[in-house]
Symmetry: C2
Subunit: 80 residues, 2 copies
């Protein structure tokens, strides 16, 4: 089983890296770009066969380890 976890800054938190990329793109002539936000994703390979148990474990890992819930949001996507 594979899970993908997306972690990104909460909309209310300044995304400094995204803003740096945005201003770099503007200075390189890409004027159509209006906003850039950056995030991370994690592809986890699981040996679990029980989808509900796997979902619960990934949820816990995402909350406790992969993200900082104070400033970041996460989204879990379970594949097959």
């Amino acid at each position: 089983m594979t899970a993908r976890v997306y972690v990104s800054m909460k909309p209310s938190v300044l995304d400094a890296q995204g803003q740096a990329i945005h201003s770099a793109l503007k200075s390189l002539g890409h004027k159509t770009i209006q906003d850039v936000r950056q995030g991370k994703f994690f592809d986890l390979q699981l040996a679990a066969t029980d989808k509900a148990a796997a979902a619960a474990e990934i949820e816990q890992i995402s909350h406790d380890i992969l993200s900082n819930p104070v400033i970041e949001d996460y989204k879990v996507e379970l594949m097959d």
Copy 2:
């Protein structure tokens, strides 16, 4: 128009950060996790209305600026 660009290490390249997370998860008792790979994503907001032109611009930005094609793969997803 919104585009999401995924950037990750090529499968042949060592993903040191993913391996570090994997061993941390194992030492924390998450034995079902078999592999972890980490990547980045970028959400770009575009003013463009022509989908083909936007796709070409995002493709160029992804190749030239957001990724290092020597060691990284990228994937573009155009939304609405």
